[in-house]
Amino acid sequence: MRTEDLIKALDADAREKAMPLGKAWWLAVGVAVAIAAAVFFATIGPRPDIMLAMHTMRFMSKFVFTLVLAASAFALIRGLSMPGASTRRATAWMAAAPLLVVLAVVLELFVVPEADWGKRFVGSNMMICMSFIPLIGIGPLAIFLGMLRYGAPTRPVLAGAVAGLLAGGLAATFYAAHCFDDSPLFVATWYTIAIAFLTLLGAIGGRLFVRW
């Protein structure tokens, strides 16, 4: 088949339209949030004293970390799924969530006496944290990998990893409403491990499934 002939076929197919990728990403996030919420409320749900907890800095700071992570990962993955889009600024923003966590850890170490560091670091339910963040995030991750297939990422492994970060940020936002361990020492360790696991899964998914 000559290239001329191929163009005839492509031109004849011009009427078939797909949803613009930018719009599709918002839709995907909506579906992912719904799935994460369904899994969260069907399993662990929010902690009983959530109204009281909302008045504490430590509890609310968890949502700042996870939402900043999710927002920056969302901006980056949109760029990564569009060929030729500049991702430099979005990449720089990925440093925001880790920096905030580091800052909070430093503050916590100043405020809390050294004797209590170990207790706050270990917390009361790290195993639940490390199993439920991946569990809540796995559905959203599948949606985001599907979106990468719909898009055209020229770096599929990186894009898959960012899909894992986005799913992790989303899942951790829900999980944070359940978790009784509000210390940044706990969040910086166990949330990070759980999100890193999703990130690794995403990178593997990007390598295996995101071909175009």
Binding site: D5, L10, D13, G84
Partner: protein, 178 residues
């Protein structure tokens, strides 16, 4: 040259997305020539046929045209896809090669005419289910319209459109999977 190209090509693609088939044909012809120039410059040793990469790039551009933001420049989008498909072609043939990410060289890519030989796309076409294959080759190789193809094959125009769309998507996917 490039500034003018950019404005004209993004204008054509915008018109094409709005439903102008003539604009889409113009757009495809012009980027075929541009991508051909780009790919030929990048493939210095043999092993990869530039025209195969041109065709894979055109198919990718077609099935992924929803990934272009209509307010973004179109040339970086086209070259990013072409570069991806070029690296993919080398990878598939077991060759590790660094394609220089050289924006300036790309602006000097000159339109070039195609050469004829056996194509990867023919093998992909042969792998399609018979119904899709007859529709795709009727419209491409034989140059028939959708209406003529419907009459020739004794099926509805809608069925022709569906088979064409699925056939092209399947060929594009096959290139990506290999």
């Amino acid at each position: 040259m490039t500034g003018k190209d950019e404005a004209e090509l993004s204008g054509l693609l915008r018109a094409a997305i709005a439903g102008d088939e003539k604009a889409y044909a113009d757009f495809l012809h012009r980027i075929a020539a541009l991508v051909r120039g780009f790919v030929r410059r990048k493939i210095v040793q043999g092993g990869v046929d530039p025209e195969d990469v041109v065709q894979e790039t055109l198919l990718a551009i077609h099935v992924k045209r929803h990934t272009w933001r209509s307010d973004a420049p179109v040339l970086p989008w086209i070259y990013a896809i072409a570069r991806f498909k070029l690296i993919d072609a080398f990878r598939r043939r077991g060759r590790r090669i660094e394609v220089e990410i050289d924006e300036i060289a790309e602006t000097f890519a000159e339109p070039e005419a195609e050469t004829v030989s056996d194509r990867d796309i023919n093998r992909a076409l042969d792998g399609l289910p018979p119904a899709q294959r007859s529709v795709v080759s009727s419209i491409s190789v034989d140059g028939h319209s959708i209406g003529e193809t419907a009459i020739k094959l004794g099926i509805s125009e809608t069925a022709v459109r569906v088979s064409l769309h699925r056939g092209l998507a399947a060929i594009a996917k096959r290139f990506g999977r290999q």
